[in-house]
Amino acid sequence: MIGLTAVSNPKLLRSILPALSLALVLGAIFIKLPTAMSYFGLNLLLQYAVPIALATVAQMFVITVNDLDLSMGAYVGLVACIGATLLHDNPPLGVLALAACLAAYAVMGAAVQLRGLPSIVLTLGMSFVWSGFAVLLLSTPGGHAPDWLHNLMALPVPVVPFPIVAAAVIACVVELGLMRSSFGVILRGAGGNSKAVARAGWSLLAAKVAMFTLAGVFGMLAGLSLLGLTGAGDAHIADRYTLYSIAGVILGGGEFVGGRVSPAGAVLGALTLALANSFLNFLHISPDWQIGAQGAILILVLALRALIGAMERRP
């Protein structure tokens, strides 16, 4: 019955597509590796899901206001480097450096709004700045994660693996803040029809700065959680995160323009990507092919969405 209603209702079908793709990848893994269907197995498979989910949510904030952050990967890498050096050796200085990163994100948002700069160009430029600072801090992989961070990421949670709990918490918090709160409405409205929001007396500058700063905050959490997992920093540790984060948002049902995003979907999309990544590793597929395989998954999901979209247009 439920299946039937879903097929006949494209809107519903579209909203369950992220969960469906996750279930599909998970199903493939369980068939290939039955032992993965355990607390320990899932913990291992989803190891990197938390930083990817956080980076995806960060990217989602930027996409909500019709921009794109091409510096996300480099930024996550820089935060990991700061965490492994300054934050470990001299915590106050480390906190100061992280605050400076957030301020830079706020300034990026203001520049995009006030100067009309294309965010793609600005963030592409900033990605080199982030990478530069990261290399200055850690020219070779190394450093140490602060102990509290390492312990946090290794938090033993009973019954349900930690990454799943963490992903659920992230999804709920952002869903509440962006989709349910009255100020989240303004921020999404700024992406849907900025003119209407401005005419109602809201500041578009504040909206843009808020979204970029939120992206900075979640990108920072992504970098710190990644550091907690790896234990050491590297300037290029998260280079792939730029594309992961964009792909996660789109897999999760978000659209590049128009303020149409879904936090829960984005987290699901990130989980799908993380799982697919681990799965391909398990299969001993060379990293060169992994990118291609992920691309294929992305194309498949987008094709499905286009199909549903065509169904919606046909009355």
């Binding site: 009255s182 999404r188 209407a196 007396g201």
Partner: protein
Amino acid sequence: MCLAAFPAISLTGATKSFGAVRALERVDLVVAPGECLGLVGHNGAGKSTLMHVLAGTLAADAGELRVGATLLGRGYSPAVAYRYGIRCVFQELSLCPNLSVAENTRIFHGALKGFGWKAKARALIGAKLDEIFPGHGIAPDDEVADLSIGKRQMAEIACAFTVTDTPLRLVILDEPTSSLDASTAQQLLTFLRTEVAKGTSAILISHLLKEILKTSDRIVVMKDGKAVDARPAAQFTRDTLVAAMGTVGEHGKAEAAPGAKRSALRASQPVVIRAKPHTGGGQELLVHRGEVVGLAGLAGHGQTRMLLQLFDGGRLADTTVSEPVAFIAGDRQTDGVFPLWSIARNISIGSFATLLSGGLLNIQKEDALAQSWRDKIGIRTPDIGNPILSLSGGNQQKALFARALASLARIVLMDDPMRGVDVGTKQEVYELIRAEAEAGRTFVWYTTELDELAYCDHTYVFRNGAIVAGLGQAEATEERVLASSFHEDSAA
């Protein structure tokens, strides 16, 4: 007690220019509490600019705005307007399509926040929709993108009338019924009368004169950025209203052209265009070789779509366009110029086929072509190798004319090309069109300026996507065109 002595809102000496164009010239406007003011005028009369000034979305260059007894100064903005209870329903829909109706209500009201805001917003907009449009069929949780255009307009109107923490003083409605069907439009107008009876003021802008006459207490007529007439609605009839919108003096009439000879074209020359608008029925568009044919009517009533239909003519079964066409865009910046290219390249792009030698572009030929057109059409530049953006707006438009005229096209489609062009340039271009037409080129010319119809041999008036009148040169007077643009039952 003395509050009632003050008007709800009063604007004195409002002036606003866009470049060389005077959109508003010392306009005074007073709306009393509980009054519904009708505002009418032809394209570009300044109605929309006036409305934006009142709503705080545009700052006037000069003028004073008072709300009640309070003088509002420089810092007037949409937020201030909201605080004083001034609301505006804009002509282009201004809802966020990615949000629900209730969420859009929240955007409108800063006070809808905190715990339980969504329930409050749902109740607020739901009740107002029920009040204005009984049986509307809109759920507060419907996403705006999923609603039909009529329902979007209903939601937006209802939203403007909702009240949270500030009282409602004045609601400005710009063409509120343009997307509504007859019965919902009637619901709105009925509601407007009861709301006005409660003491709210309203400004109603509409091109449906019947609506204006029936609903307003007083009508202000605008023309060329000035308020030219203001009387109680009862003292106007359709005809006097239309007359007030037109000019009295017949200024700027094209030196009455060689009328007889030109009108003989219709009889002697073959038909080169035959088409019926896809957007609506009405008459057929017929264009003979060498004619200048004007497309008139209110802006956005299907003229540009007609031009695009003609441009695609060769590929459409029901449209005959028997000679090659060129298109001159009205919106220079987005559709016309290649901003990074030189003046010469901007002119020659339409004629590349004739400038090739051995499959490559012959730069000498290209320069020669551009030079000859610069001299012919008088583009004011020392060097045609300069970037196009070094030219003034009028001269950029001349370059676009040169592009079309230099090409092999025998038919030139013009999409209101004189927008924001200075008077001197206009005169030069008018003469050029005349001369080219004499030489056998055909022009189809959409214009929002009634004066320009004097240069046309034949004029078709559009209303709601259909051609409602075809007028010969002598018949295309301002009164006739206005009457056809506005009246429902005057099809000539």
